[in-house]
Amino acid sequence: MSSISELYDVSWEEMRDKLRKWREENYRNSEQIVDVGEELINEHASKLGDDIWIIYEQVMIAALDCSRDDLAWSCLQELKRQFPDSHRVKRLAGMRLEALERYEDANKLYDSILQDDPTNTAARKRKISILRAQGKSSEAIRELNEYLEQFVGDQEAWHELSELYINEHDYAKAAFCLEELMMTNPHNHLYCEQYAEVKYTQGGLENLELARKYFAQALKLNNRNMRALFGLYMGLFATSHQPYTPQNPEAQGFAARNRDEVDCVQLKFQHIHGEGLSC
């Protein structure tokens, strides 16, 4: 089995930089990380210097993903030897226990971290993911709510909560979580689009109109977002077919404008669709 450096003709510095890029941009390509990282650790450990510890951490998490328990165990041993009392390393040990499905032991470990340091967010989040892994979604939701009451700024947690609510079909609460995310990241088109999708799923004229507006906003932020374009199209289509009541006098003009907009979007859609098919 030839090594990565021979296969792709890269030097160890390039491999290290690639790992750093994956780490900073939060990629989850675990198989690649394991391949590249394993080779770096085995062949070039001395040249890496102090970088090696964070590479150990990155490779360990990727190894847990690929169920490479041997690699994970060796990385953990190295880290434990270097940082004997570290909460961060303890959390990694807990993650390994989770991967082996020893949830009770993992829970005990996280509780001990939290006793030491009540503000440690990583341990709390791991406990919640244990609940999620065990399928206890209502408890996970409850714990996550409590966590968010104390740490209101944690965006990862808000996103996780919105996913949990969507799985439970509680769209109103999911919309609330996504609103938090939109508030903190107003220029992120993905949050706008997800929010619009949730509103669209909720249904009803008001929600459909909101959905349309947010799909349009997502398109404005990034005009390559096909999902938003499709969502906008569906939203326009849906609202143009809603029966309008006499209490809503502007709905007539609205419907007419909707029809125009539907045609407009349809044209644009066919345009891309055509272009998409041709290439």
Binding site: V152, M182, M183, P186, K220, E261, C264
Partner: protein, 251 residues
């Protein structure tokens, strides 16, 4: 203005050594501070409060991207006269007396030891060792008021105030080498004295100002006056007007 020609050995044996000494002492101070540094215990309550304040501020700034209903709901959560967060939550504030609170006392002592003491010692030594002659000239004219301060060992009435002694060169160095420290020790280094003085005034985002109640009150006021102007009012029309530039998408 007097044109004085200074002996070049002054440059070699006074100016450069003082720069060198100041720099080395600064670096040493940095490492000593790191050794004596102990972990600041962060209180859960404080972290939580600081995040809540951050959220309220973001609501004020970016609330216009939320639908009216959501914004009103959040504003209500914070500002409602009976059940609003800022109205209801009163934190027990124990005024931290610097004299009796042990952790703050040791922190203060350590700060004094590592920063003020070396400065006094070295300043005094330089004053003693390099006194009696003029070291350098500042490039801008100074008034006579500065003479006794900057020309410590030199008792000449007719000498321009721009010519300064070595003690003032030392102090110039202490503040001037700040950017050098940033270059070599990276940001956030302990050798940076002026930053330490600044630290006592501004607070970081993690640590709360000593009185959260005041912060809550000011945040409440700020949130009261904000009104919701929905940014997405005409977004669809705007979108239709502009060309969506799909041409190059799949090429």
């Amino acid at each position: 203005m007097a044109h004085l020609l200074l002996d070049s050995s002054i440059r070699l044996w006074v100016v450069l050594p003082i720069v060198f000494i100041t720099f080395i002492v600064g670096v040493l101070r940095h490492y000593v501070t790191q050794l004596l540094h102990n972990e600041k215990k962060v209180d859960l309550q404080q972290v939580s409060d600081s995040q809540v304040l951050l959220r309220s501020r973001i609501l004020r700034e970016n609330g216009k991207y939320l639908p009216k209903q959501s914004f009103a709901m959040r504003k209500h959560y914070f500002n409602n006269p009976e059940t609003g967060f800022f109205k209801k939550v009163k934190r027990k504030v124990i005024p931290k007396n610097p004299m009796t609170d042990t952790s703050m006392l040791t922190d203060m002592m350590k700060g004094n030891l590592t920063n003020v003491l070396p400065m006094i010692l070295i300043g005094g030594w330089i004053n003693w060792a390099f006194s009696g002659f003029v070291t350098t000239k500042v490039p801008f004219p100074l008034t006579l008021r500065f003479k006794p301060m900057l020309q410590r060992g030199i008792e000449l009435l007719s000498l321009d105030a721009s010519w300064v002694s070595s003690a003032s060169w030392y102090f110039l160095n202490v503040f001037g080498l700040r950017s050098m420290y940033t270059l070599i020790l990276g940001q956030d280094n302990a050798a940076d004295q002026s930053r330490i003085m600044q630290d006592q005034m501004t607070g970081a985002a993690m640590a709360m100002p000593p009185d959260p109640n005041k912060a809550f009150k000011s945040e409440w006021e700020a949130l009261e006056i904000v009104e919701h102007r929905w940014a997405l009012e005409n977004v669809e029309e705007e979108l239709m007007c502009q060309d969506l530039n799909f041409r190059g998408l799949f090429s």
